[in-house]
């Protein structure tokens, strides 16, 4: 690697980024002052800090190219291994969510569609391919990766999607194949996964030009695990009535645990968020003004509807207090154990909700419904996400039978609002509201 990108990266890290962060915070302040929603409680003070962190992350990523090894990574890939080699990581799914929230989904998807990618494919994949082909992104510019790192523990689509990227840039694609957990994780599956990690290390040493340091790897595992546990505590504050946060807040505050997992900033951030939430709990401050009903969300967020839904439900005194999606990053990372790093990493990443059986998901949902005192369930059948959406009708039936929890299925997409029908969703939600007001 040449010296110039290194110097530029350091300069931007120490001087450029703080400046940009300050500006991002200011912008947020102005916006918050204007957009004060009546049915909602006071906004989280931490949001400003979150915005600074994520702005800095994307801003610095532009200068990482050439200065640090860069990897594009799927949200469920064991990034801890890459962190040990000091990779700068970009998460196309997080970037896709960002584009979705800014309502850029259809525009970016159309670029991929223009190159022949079918509209039935995952919209995160189409956005990302659209970004690659056009260079368009709301974050200015994304760095060209040196390597792609994908795991099929969240879905198989990422494998094809990343194959397209690998072909486009002519760079290596590293795959972590996680056998699906139908009943329980057996020894042969663990051996298979550990063997893959062992094969990855020399390849990562070659690409990054850095030697593998077990000490650093263990430190990353420690940090990753502590951050995930802190995130778990953040979510657990929502067990309180009224809940100090809504799931829509959590969808947004999820970004660091997805994209910056294993870095000190993430742990530091969640500790600050946690203390703010604890303070709210002690003062009885709720995220919505009048919390009468508590709901659970299943599947990825509908990113372009977060603000609308947040208000729609709050107006009815309904607050989402838990979601299988946000819980995913708190659930299995705690398996990580620096005394047995590779095997524990294999467990942590292969037992995630989307690589685990339906009974596990049912039990998880039952537990969340009980612990968070949930009155109703909103199931998002996401056009983009098969692993999350197949099986939801079974879960709906089973949860009704076992816990008499009323639920509704809304068909939409995570970022492509061309696959969303306001009328159909409103009709379904109105029926659900009536049902839940009648006590299910």
């Amino acid at each position: 690697m040449s010296i110039a990108p290194e110097i530029r990266y350091r300069f931007m890290k120490d001087i450029g980024a703080p400046l940009v962060m300050g500006m991002a915070g200011l912008k947020g302040k102005r916006k918050a002052a204007i957009k004060r929603d009546i049915p909602l409680g006071p906004p989280l003070k931490c949001s400003k800090r979150l915005k600074e962190i994520m702005t800095r992350h994307y801003f610095l990523s532009r200068y990482a190219e050439g200065a640090r090894p860069v990897a594009w990574v799927t949200s469920g890939a064991p990034v801890e291994l890459l962190r040990a080699f000091d990779f700068y990581t970009v998460y196309p799914e997080n970037h896709g969510a960002l584009c979705g929230a800014q309502k850029l989904g259809p525009e970016l998807c159309s670029i991929a569609e223009g190159h022949g990618y079918n509209q039935d494919l995952c919209s995160y994949a189409r956005i990302d391919i659209g970004v690659c082909l056009s260079g368009k992104t709301p974050v200015g510019r994304l760095p060209r990766p040196d390597i792609l790192f994908a795991s099929n523990n969240i879905c198989q689509t990422v494998m094809y999607w990343y194959r397209v990227l690998a072909h486009h840039w002519k760079i290596p694609l590293m795959v972590f194949d996680t056998p699906f957990n139908f009943v329980s994780l057996d020894r042969s599956a663990i051996t298979y996964m550990v063997r893959q990690f062992e094969e990855m290390i020399p390849e990562l040493e070659r690409i990054s030009g850095r030697k593998f340091s077990e000490k650093k790897f263990k430190e990353v595992l420690r940090l990753g695990k502590s951050s995930a546990m802190a995130w778990g505590e953040v979510l657990a504050t929502m067990k309180t009535v009224p809940s100090p946060m809504t799931i829509f807040d959590a969808f947004v505050h999820l970004a660091p645990i997805v994209s910056l997992r294993g870095l000190p900033v993430t742990l530091e951030y969640y500790n600050v968020l946690l203390s703010e939430l604890k303070d709210r709990v002690s003062k009885g401050i709720g995220a919505i003004v009048n919390e009468r009903k508590r709901l659970m969300w299943d599947n990825i967020a509908i990113w372009y509807k977060i603000r609308d839904f947040s208000r729609l439900f709050a107006e009815r005194g309904m607050n989402f207090v838990t979601a299988t999606y946000t819980n995913a990053w708190a659930e299995t990372i705690s398996y990580m154990d620096e005394r047995n790093p590779m095997e524990s990493l294999a467990k942590a990443y292969s037992l995630v909700i989307l690589n685990n059986n339906l009974d596990h998901r049912l039990k998880l949902m039952e537990r969340l419904i009980k612990e968070y005192q949930v009155d109703g369930l909103v199931i998002h059948s996401a056009r983009s996400c098969k692993p999350y959406s197949v099986g939801q009708y079974d879960l709906k039936r089973l949860l009704m039978e076992r816990l008499a929890v009323p639920s509704v299925v809304i068909e939409a997409d995570i970022t492509d609002f061309r696959a969303y029908s306001e009328e159909q969703t409103t009709t379904r939600l109105e029926a659900f509201f009536e049902n839940i007001e009648d006590g299910g």
Binding site: D120, Q156, T157, Y160, Y162, Y192, P387, S389, V390, Y393
Partner: protein, 427 residues
Amino acid sequence: MSEEYRSMWKDLGLDLEAHDALLAALGQGYKDVFMTQENRPKGMEYFDFVVSQVHGLRVKELLDEKAAGRKVIGSFCVFVPEEIVRAADATLVGLCTGADFATEEVEKYLPRNTCALIKSAFGFKLGKVCPYIESADMIVGENTCDGKKKSYETLGKLVPNLYVMDLPQVKTAGGRELLRTEYLRFKTAVEDLTGVKIDAARLKKGIEIVNNKRKAIHRLAKLRKADPAAISGLDALLINQVFFYDDPVRFTNSVNRICDELEARIAKSEGVFPKGAPRVLLSGCPMAVPNWKLPWIIETSGAVIVGEESCVGERGTRNLTEPKGETVDDLMDAIVERHFKVDCAIFTPNPDRIAHVKEMAGDYKADGVIHYSLQFCQPYIMESIPVEKELESARIPTLRIETDYGSEDAGQLKTRIQAFIEMIGSK
């Protein structure tokens, strides 16, 4: 159909009224698509008979086998090794997945944007019209795509006997080892089901039966290189479809018989299409009975299909299991080795598939390739673009089609295909 079959279907728990409607539609469809072809080889009469009896005599045979103490195993995928099933004197049958049925009921279980093949499997079960699924002592689901992987959990609640097989998605030494572990686990499950201990001699016999079936299909494939084409693509596809249902020894003999006839035709330059007719290679998703829409459109538009790069086709049948070694371990290795070469789109990376499509296009002297993806099938839709790019860079015209089992898009498809055939025909 005779009264005997009606009582058999009733005993299997089929919905007789719905089943009658299905058979009537299947019979009519078959007549329209197959029986209107001219100058078909005489050997096709056997396959016509098999299809006419697909829910009748063949099911009765299976029930007779069950009565004699043998087991029936149903599957959805070519990764389920038939050699192991045969070694235990059991029968492997492909389950019904080629037509829409009870769609409204299915959509109470699966999202609407699930592929037609998975929905079809559920529709046949929920609509109570598949005698195979009802006869099966074990149904094997395999982890190929996300849709199947997740829907097997739902299917597991609808059938009493679902066995799930995991598959690696990378072709590394570790991946091969995982497949071996899974095949050994499957062997034990088959032994437990049948009460038969699979030894080397049995395994060798199983390999021989299945290899013979494959060899006959290889022979047929080779004969499709001739111009004029001695057999239509529709008839050849049908034979490939029957591969999954019929008694293997009888099937092998029947395929070899028709091959004898085709050789005689080729010697006389006799064909079902005129010499020089545009030649098309089909590539992509499998086509199960009665999914004949696309080949029918292609062949009624003047082109002949000369090969199928598909699981119901050469991807599924190419390569033999080398009966190397004398121990169960050696033979299991040979079975793993053979199946690990199947270049399904689930593997990452998957350069072998693209190379195979190119190789087939050359071998069968195809003028163009039509890539067929089922709507919502992420693996094949996604892979269709690299396939197209690679073929076009090799100057092989390619048309990508995404469709389902419905007939609504038939007119639109016909227009696109006619234009494509015109283009490749004028080269």
